[in-house]
């Protein structure tokens, strides 16, 4: 560890602190784990009765589609919430007085939540596979890249959300908008092409402008269809996701820096 750059040590510091803190909330930790099981059971039971094929997009069945979607949702949502939970004036002023790198601040604050989400990802898949006969057909390389692109997209969104929240001190409209659009258009519970059937043809186009759609799509693509990254159609999807990641990461950094500087100029960094 002595050779690690300071930024990695800082990320490690946040992760260790949050893991230690989480471990002290024993009851909360237990209920959190139980709720994962309850969640997957309830969705699994529901899905068992609503067997709708999703072969159009993933050549798979609805239960597999849903299980992966919920697992991914469970994996990514905490990313946007992680920093937000750390935003209180006592912490913010003190942490910034350490001279911490802004990226390390954001990544460090979401890292434990992300690690815990990955751990809770496993029971979703195990229960889904063995109890509800979800058929996973993953490609490890594609899954790795899908997770990488997803993490970049979501860290970008988290930084945008945090930057605005530092200025607004309250509900962040961007997060709210993202959540609303995600629930409607990102294809958590149904493939986005079904929007054309549910509403009117062409409306699913909106979905492809949402970064979260690509997070779900790439994860499902890589875990349900054993895709080859040399397949032009698959590569195109991964490149589209990469474009979102490449745009959102610097934009997120810029918005976060803007928020911090704005609060410093207004003298409101310590306000909440």
């Amino acid at each position: 560890m002595s050779d690690l750059p300071v930024i990695l040590k800082q990320v490690f510091a946040f992760t260790k602190r949050d893991a230690l803190s989480w471990a002290t909330y024993r009851t909360a930790a237990i209920t959190q784990v139980i709720s994962i099981f309850i969640g997957v059971f309830s969705w699994g039971i529901q899905a068992s009765y609503v067997q709708r094929p999703v072969s159009e997009m993933y050549s798979s069945d609805y239960i597999s589609f849903l299980i992966v979607g919920l697992a991914v949702g469970n994996l990514i949502m905490p990313l946007a919430q992680g920093v937000e939970r750390q935003l209180n004036p006592w912490t913010l002023e003190t942490i910034f007085m350490t001279g911490i790198n802004k990226t390390a601040f954001v990544i460090g604050n979401v890292m434990w939540t992300y690690i815990f989400s990955i751990i809770s990802f496993i029971p979703y898949l195990v229960i889904g596979t063995y109890l509800f006969n979800a058929h996973l057909n993953p490609n490890i390389v594609a899954t790795f890249f899908a997770f990488l692109i997803s993490a970049a997209i979501l860290v970008g969104l988290a930084m945008i959300s945090t930057g605005i929240r530092i200025v607004t001190k309250s509900t962040d409209p961007i997060s709210w908008l993202i959540n609303v659009l995600q629930n409607l258009f990102a294809g958590i519970l149904f493939p986005v092409v079904f929007l054309d059937t549910l509403f009117f043809p062409g409306i699913s186009t909106i979905s492809w402008f949402l970064p979260q759609t690509w997070v779900y799509h790439l994860c499902r693509l890589s875990m349900l269809t054993n895709p080859s990254l040399t397949d032009p159609a698959v590569l195109q999807a991964f490149l589209a996701g990469t474009v979102f990641a490449v745009l959102l990461l610097p934009l997120g950094y810029w918005v976060f820096s803007w928020g911090v500087n704005r609060a410093k100029r207004e003298g409101t960094l310590g306000w909440y």
Binding site: P173, R265, G267
Partner: protein, 389 residues
């Protein structure tokens, strides 16, 4: 990399390195706050109401530039704090103390003037500034209540890039230094106010910076804890380690006892900056000397003595005190602040008085503070919503 020379800051080139003459130097420092920052509303209690922008029209307000009306929290502050000195910042609430400190700590950006912390500009080189200055701000604890004191310090040590044996050694030293070692593995939430304050100090010292800033260091501490804290400041941090200490406080006695020099801020400006003794005498032109002596019957000799005293240079008035039997027991002499006391004492001894005691009623720092600001140090002024700009 050597500090960059300031435009107006004082210092000298030593080889390739510019050596700053002062630990902290501000030149014409200005800070303005918008009366209500965009999207923010100030409640009736003076605290900010949350900037809820659930309506989307509110989002656009966030990106608008601020165009007055403004409150000027700092109006051209010029201060020079020497290396190794204990410097106090006094002022009523709303005077600009917290804004000044937060600018040094890189938490607030200035609107005008220059600021240098060991030669580094907080706006331009915040990381370099924070390598030279750390602060103990009571309102910004930043500790996780569920973790132990040691675990909290380990977290901050990692943020500073310290880890492993180096971090353990430094933390162990600081826990000994502040007397917290025995309780280091207790949860932070079990700590008393004094222990929490000492843990704040530990955190500020992890990096071993040459400048330490304290904002109300003894507020909330019991008298014993306050005395221990002051001893720690003077004996260890200042005398033994030679650190520059910047102290913001409402406690005038504390400032008088601790500080080498103090600055009094009011309405965003420095209205006095000198040693506590000099400041005490800045506004008080008179001193009072009370001389008690073996009682004597009042007669022509004593009358001539009093007349001689009244004619002595610097003496404004002389009032005799008699006991119930009409015996002269004491004299109260009002003097100019620069009057020669030895001359007065010579007149008394030459007059044959057997002096038992001489007391000078010196003006206190509080007297000076009241006279300069028109308020007591602890009075609530029209401070900013955060509780004192």
């Amino acid at each position: 990399m050597p500090p960059m020379p300031a435009l107006k800051a004082e210092g000298a080139w030593l080889g390739a390195c510019y050596i700053m003459a002062y630990a902290v130097e501000t030149v014409g420092l200005v800070k303005r706050y918008a009366v209500a920052p965009s999207g923010t509303f100030i409640g009736l209690d003076g605290r900010p109401k949350s900037r809820s922008v659930q309506s989307f029209t509110g989002i656009f307000g966030l990106f608008k530039k601020q165009h007055g009306p403004y409150i000027e929290a700092l109006k051209g502050v010029d201060l020079k704090i020497k290396k190794g000195e204990i410097f106090g910042i006094l002022g009523p609430n709303g005077a600009g103390k917290t804004t000044f400190i937060k600018i040094l700590c890189t938490l607030v950006l200035r609107d005008g003037g220059e600021v240098y912390v060991n030669g580094y500009d907080p706006s331009e080189s915040p990381s370099d500034v924070l390598r030279n200055l750390q602060a103990v701000l009571p309102e910004s604890r930043g500790f996780n209540w569920r973790l132990s004191g040691r675990q909290n310090l380990e977290f901050y040590a990692l943020l500073y890039g310290l880890h492993g044996d180096d971090a353990r050694a430094r933390i162990g030293y600081l826990l000994d230094y502040t007397g917290l070692r025995e309780r280091a593995d207790d949860c932070y939430q079990k700590y008393s106010t004094g222990m929490q304050r000492r843990l704040l100090l530990c955190r500020a010292l992890i990096r071993d910076t040459p400048i330490i800033v304290f904002d109300e260091p003894t507020a909330g501490l019991d008298p014993t804890g306050a005395v221990e804290f002051r001893d720690l400041l003077i004996d260890r941090l200042s005398r033994r380690e030679g650190k520059t200490i910047l102290l913001s406080t409402h406690n005038l006695q504390e400032a008088q006892g601790l500080c080498d020099r103090i600055a009094i801020l009011d309405h965003g400006g420095v209205i006095a900056c000198d040693t506590p003794d000099n400041i005490r005498h800045l506004v008080t032109e008179k001193r009072t000397m009370r001389v008690v002596f073996s009682g004597m019957v009042y007669g022509p000799i004593q009358d001539r003595l009093i007349s001689a005293l009244k004619e002595a240079p610097g003496v404004n008035s002389v009032s005799p005190t008699f006991d119930q039997e009409g015996i002269l027991t004491a004299l109260t002499i009002r003097l100019d602040k620069d009057a020669d006391i030895s001359g007065v004492l010579s007149i008394l001894t030459d007059g044959g008085l057997s002096i038992k005691s001489v007391n000078m009623d010196e003006p206190s720092l509080e007297d000076a503070f009241m006279a300069m600001t028109g308020r007591g140090a602890s009075n609530q002024g029209a401070g900013r919503a955060e509780g004192g700009a």
